[in-house]
């Protein structure tokens, strides 16, 4: 498997008034296509900084970052926006849906910023994505009318709409109870089984146990990087889901 994410000596230093904070110290990392990585570590370990850099929301102080074939570490703000809109999908702890939009409209948001027209096919794809994450009967609901789990599923559908290379999830279950967390993790695992690369920040071992690979960080450096052999398995078969998902994007 080729590496879809590669960082070379990625460093991020914050120069504050009194102190200099080394948030990330020369992290080199490769993530293969189709992998499911859990980033763990105590607060201040640099895992969020790393996720922001991988998500092209921030630029490294030094080092290189290759996303697919492109070196994004030197890119301008506008180019980074384009990379985000084309290649990345985001899932946040607090869902971050736009309150004034309906479910379908929320899923459409990333398309607004791709220089493509939103035609009927695109709208239909958004509806089918909503169905895929189990919200087929709530297309016109607004986030306020949905439970946390449902909102996070909308967020997942939104992260999928541009068929990203990598899905970045920042504590996706942090605001959810354990049952709903399970549901969300099921969904992410299915996506991963369908070939999506996922990088997820979490501090819960339970959640990390769903990943194929667990990276623990401390003081801005990678402490351990292990393959997860005791990976939590899906209870039900997910072939139907995978087929649906693949069909959605092959028809694009």
């Amino acid at each position: 498997m080729p590496a879809i994410v590669r960082t070379d000596y990625l460093t991020k230093t914050y120069f504050l008034e009194a102190v200099t904070v080394h948030a990330l110290r020369s992290v080199s990392l490769e993530v293969e296509q189709g992998d499911f990585v859990a980033l763990m570590g105590p607060s201040g370990s640099g895992k969020s900084t790393l996720l922001n850099l991988l998500g092209c929301l921030d630029r490294p102080t030094s080092g290189r970052y290759f996303l697919g074939a492109e070196d994004v570490s030197e890119m301008e703000d506008d180019q980074l926006s384009e990379i985000r809109s084309k290649y990345l999908g985001f899932i946040f702890q607090s869902y971050n849906l736009l309150q004034q939009y309906t479910v379908v409209e929320n899923i459409q948001v990333p398309l607004l910023y791709q220089n493509a027209r939103i035609d009927e096919r695109a709208t239909e794809r958004c509806q089918r994505l909503a169905q895929l994450v189990g919200l087929g009967n709530r297309l016109d609901h607004r986030p306020m009318q949905l439970s946390g789990g449902q909102q996070q599923r909308v967020a997942i559908a939104r992260a999928l709409v541009n068929d990203p290379h990598v899905i970045l999830a920042d504590e996706p279950t942090g605001n959810l109870d354990s049952k709903t967390s399970d549901e969300i993790m099921h969904m992410l695992t299915r996506l991963n089984d369908a070939g999506k690369t996922i990088i997820m920040v979490t501090h819960e071992n339970d959640i990390a146990s769903w990943a194929r690979r667990v990276i623990r960080m401390r003081d801005g450096e990678i402490e351990t990087d292990t393959r997860n052999d005791t990976r939590t398995n899906l209870e039900a078969s997910s072939t139907a889901f995978m087929e649906n998902l693949n069909m959605l994007f092959s028809s694009k």
Binding site: L57, S81, E82, R84, F90, N96, P110, L112, Y113, N162
Partner: protein, 444 residues
């Protein structure tokens, strides 16, 4: 083309979004554009009322004739200090020599002499005090009025005893104003009836329709009311009264010797009015010396003056408008800045999902512009309803409020409100776009 289409779609979508988020905060949006609404409404209605009354004034001047030059005899102030009794007869004004000079002016298409005196006009028991104006048929050429019935004084250039010319025949004929006709002939057709002016009997040959008074715009002339006028042929007047006129008004008696009270010249071209006017003033100054017994009125000058006043007024309005729109714009800016802070997280989300800085700027600019545009539209509607409602209300109280809606001002105020939206939305929009996406996402 495709690119343009995509941008257009983007703008459309953003507009719809803007409308929706405005609808979400109806009251706030309304309050924030209130400044724009009131400003626009004020401009539209002030403009309509101002232009209306100004047009009224201009029309009044135009009725005097824009190509006319009016020379008047003016009774000079009493001279000398207490040297006993003065000559009872006042002798002043336009002289025969002046008249002969005026007659020679090439540019004059028509030249109308007038002798005017207040007289009691009688018919049986009816009496009305009016102006008796001795003049020629050309009077009709330089003054705009319509006849209700009959004809005006007639004439032809041929000096022939057989002619129909009232002047040469010295006929005792009169054309009367509408008010005289009303007063003296309450129940009858005045035509071919007889009226008495100072012992002499005149046959009514025509009645003039009600005329609007000419504007009192300048200092030299007061408003003239034509409806109590009686017009008689010049030669008839001179033959019956001579040069010296005794004016008998309700018992008092005075006399004056004035060759002509007024001469109105109709000039063939607007371009010649100014130079001819100057020439006349020069000539009269030379012959009359220090005797201030004449006055020259050039309506065109007053027209130009009035138009300048209107332009000044318009400039003042534009100033007021820009002040109120700036105030309105500050209101918008204030609310947009608050909105940016309030929606920091939304901005962060959009940035994370691929929005460029330009997209964020566009979004906030469009929101501001949609807001000010709606404000402008509401303002126009409010202003127009004022313009249509106030004159109706004023007419209940017997006031006449002329209006003149300048459609150009409506378009302009809409354009300006869009410009205000862009101008005052720009800073908040740039502020929104400058936010660091990570910080913005963390914002609670």
């Amino acid at each position: 083309m495709r690119k343009f289409l995509i941008h257009w779609e983007k703008i459309q979508r953003t507009m719809v979004l803007a409308l929706r988020s405005l609808w979400l905060h109806k009251l706030r949006a309304f309050l924030s554009v209130l400044g724009i609404i009131i400003g626009t409404a004020a401009v539209i209605s002030l403009m309509a009322f101002g232009e209306g009354s100004m047009r009224d004034a201009l029309d009044a001047i135009k009725r005097q004739g824009a190509t006319n030059i009016i020379v008047r005899s003016v009774k000079p102030p009493e001279e000398g200090g207490g040297s006993g009794r003065k000559n009872m007869t006042a002798n002043y004004g336009i002289t025969r020599a002046d008249w002969e000079f005026l007659e020679k002016i090439n540019y004059a298409e028509a030249i109308v002499p007038m002798r005017i005196f207040q007289q009691e006009i009688r018919r049986m028991q009816f009496m009305k005090i009016g102006r008796v104006v001795a003049t020629t048929e050309d009077y009709q050429k330089v003054n705009k009025f319509e006849l209700a019935m009959g004809r005006f004084l007639s004439g032809s250039d041929e000096v022939d005893e057989e002619t129909e010319d009232d002047n040469i025949q010295m006929r005792n004929v009169a054309v009367i104003g509408s008010e005289i006709a009303e007063k003296l002939f309450p129940f009858q057709n005045p035509l071919s009836q007889t009226i008495v002016i100072n012992r002499f009997h005149f046959v009514v040959v025509g009645v003039i329709k009600e005329r609007m008074p000419t504007g009192a715009g300048g200092g030299s002339s007061s408003a003239e009311d034509f409806n109590s006028d009686v017009y008689i042929p010049m030669r008839t007047g001179r033959g019956r009264w001579g040069d010296r006129v005794y004016i008998r008004l309700s018992g008092s008696r005075s006399s004056e010797q004035v060759y002509l009270h007024q001469v109105t010249l109709k000039i063939d071209d607007m371009d010649h009015v100014k130079s001819t006017g100057n020439a006349i003033a020069y000539a009269l100054k030379a012959t009359h010396g220090y005797k201030q017994d004449w006055a020259l009125t050039i309506p065109l000058d007053r027209l130009i003056e009035a138009e300048e006043t209107r332009d000044r007024f318009t400039r003042l309005l534009v100033l007021i408008a820009s002040i109120s729109l700036v105030v309105g714009g500050i209101g918008i800016m204030n609310i947009m800045l608050a909105t940016v802070t309030e929606r920091t997280r939304e901005i962060g989300i959009r940035r994370a999902l691929g929005a460029k800085r330009a997209d964020i700027i566009l979004q906030f600019l469009i929101e501001a512009t949609v807001q000010t545009m709606i404000g402008g539209l509401l303002g126009v509607l409010l202003g127009l309803s004022f313009v249509f409602a106030v004159p109706v209300a004023a007419s209940w109280f017997g006031h006449n409020l002329p209006i003149n809606i300048n459609y150009w001002s409506i378009v302009l105020s809409l354009v300006v409100s869009v410009v205000v939206g862009v101008a005052f939305g720009l800073y908040p929009a740039v502020r929104a776009a400058e936010l660091d996406p990570i910080e913005a996402l963390r914002h609670e």
